[in-house]
């Protein structure tokens, strides 16, 4: 069990993270970019046009990874919120701060690609169903985290308020999920059912999986880089940072 404690403390130390994580950023960038290039070229260039949707299906390779990733980012933020409120770990706060805007962008990307995709396939950019609505709400949750922090301004106070919001937000996630799903079943079902996993042919699935992993890695790289930037900002003037700067 000792190693858990050590890891916890180490990850909690901005200094350890800052110095240790640099190779990771580069690695994740390179690896993620590589996968995205492979997956996208494959998906965009070599996958046959879909029977019903034609070439518009190709946007799937951006849309689906973005949508999955957005959810994953929120879950990590909520965990960080809990950690910050309970243990007052500064790193957790900085993670929220670094990841929230990125989460927002990724969610907007999922929404935008969904809308673009919807225009040829559904004949309209928007339908009111469980997936679209919960994605939209996710965007609002991210936006709220960013907006609240900006609005409060003062760092300590903002950190705690934002962590509280992130935590209360996560209680909300299952509630949203269920209510929104019931809501569609209470109404008439949407006229076009979005493709579900089994319905996707392997030709689509493999490049999609490659792209999903690529997105995850690349965005993880972005988040870590943003986190390091935050650390550099907050720890500016400390001795270890100055030492490190002069070394590198």
């Amino acid at each position: 069990m000792g190693w858990i404690k050590t890891t916890f403390h180490k990850t909690g130390s901005p200094r350890w993270f800052f110095t240790g994580a640099r190779p990771w950023v580069v690695g994740l960038y390179v690896f993620g970019a590589l996968l995205i290039v492979v997956g996208s070229t494959w998906g965009l260039g070599f996958v046959p046009p879909e029977r019903l949707q034609g070439n518009s299906v190709r946007i799937l390779f951006i849309h689906a990874p973005a949508a999955h990733l957005a959810e994953a980012i929120y879950v990590s933020i909520a965990i960080a919120g809990f950690v910050f409120l309970v243990w007052r770990m500064k790193m957790a706060d900085m993670l929220i701060q670094a990841a929230a805007p990125i989460g927002f962008v990724v969610t907007v990307l999922a929404l935008a690609t969904g809308i673009i995709w919807g225009i040829p396939t559904w004949g309209t950019g928007w339908v009111w169903d469980a997936r679209t609505v919960s994605t939209l709400l996710l965007a609002f949750l991210f936006f709220g985290l960013v907006a609240l922090r900006q609005a409060i301004g003062r760092e300590d106070r903002a950190s705690r308020a934002v962590a509280l919001l992130a935590l209360v937000g996560v209680i909300n996630i299952p509630i949203i999920k269920y209510s929104v799903e019931w809501f569609t079943t209470l109404h008439q079902p949407p006229s076009i059912v979005i493709g579900e996993k089994p319905a996707i042919a392997p030709v689509f699935l493999i490049p999609l999986a490659v792209n999903v992993v690529g997105f995850y890695c690349f965005v993880a790289g972005v988040v870590i880089a943003a986190l390091r930037a935050r650390i550099a900002e907050r720890e500016a003037g400390t001795q270890w940072l100055r030492d490190w700067m002069s070394k590198s």
Binding site: L138, A151, D156, A161, L164, I171, S179, F183, H187
Partner: protein, 216 residues
């Protein structure tokens, strides 16, 4: 209970003193009904009334702590009210009595104006009576979180939107179902569950957020 009633009575009194403020959520509700009737014209779904009630509620709740923060009475409340919980509840109860309740009472009129029908109006009122206190409680969290910003306003609405949506969904779908003559028990249960959940969780989140708001 003493704390609850002290705060409840005070807040009602403040509202009565500023008479038009007290009438405001209601006035907004009426006004929005009129504007929607004018702008949209055609017959609207009963869900629209739920949306209007929700707006009236959130627009009122966003400022529930602001004036108290400006004049320093919030400071005093945090120092003296031990525990804070009943005082917060008293505040929110007074607030709901002046925003959610009158809107629920008046909603049949709006329903008739906008949908042109009286079917299911009873269920509409019932859902509003269960749903609006939940909205007030949830909205208060956002309001408390933004006290420190000195603004609130629409930021509150944006922060708590994801929390409102479940309430809205069940409330609106129950009202729609009632109008069509469908069963509504499930939605009512869900609404009650949401109310119970917010009654337990919200006051503590609000208290915590208020304490944070006084630091800098």
């Amino acid at each position: 209970m003493r704390l609850f009633f002290t705060q409840f009575r005070r807040d009602l009194l403040v509202a009565v003193r500023s008479r038009s403020d007290a009438a405001n959520p209601l006035a907004f509700f009426v006004l929005a009904t009129v504007l929607l009737g004018l702008g949209a014209g055609a017959e609207l779904a009963p869900g629209v009334i739920w949306v209007l009630a929700l707006f009236a509620n959130v627009l009122a709740v966003e400022g529930v702590f602001r004036r108290d923060d400006d004049d320093g009475t919030l400071e005093q409340l945090l120092i003296h009210a031990q525990p804070l919980f009943p005082a917060v509840m008293g505040k929110l109860a007074a607030h709901w009595a002046l925003s959610g309740l009158p809107v629920a009472v008046l909603s049949p009129v709006a329903a008739i104006m906008l949908t042109g029908s009286t079917t299911g109006v009873g269920v509409l009122v019932l859902t509003l009576c269960i749903g609006t206190p939940a909205l007030t409680l949830l909205g208060a969290i956002g309001s408390a979180l933004t006290v420190a910003t000195g603004r609130g306003g629409l930021l509150v609405a944006v922060l708590v939107l994801p929390f409102y949506v479940p309430v809205l969904i069940f409330g609106a779908s129950a009202s729609t179902a009632a109008m069509l003559g469908d069963p509504v028990a499930f939605q009512l249960l869900a609404l009650a569950a949401l109310l119970a959940a917010s009654l337990t969780a919200a006051p503590f989140a609000v208290g915590k957020a208020l304490a944070i708001s006084q630091e800098y």
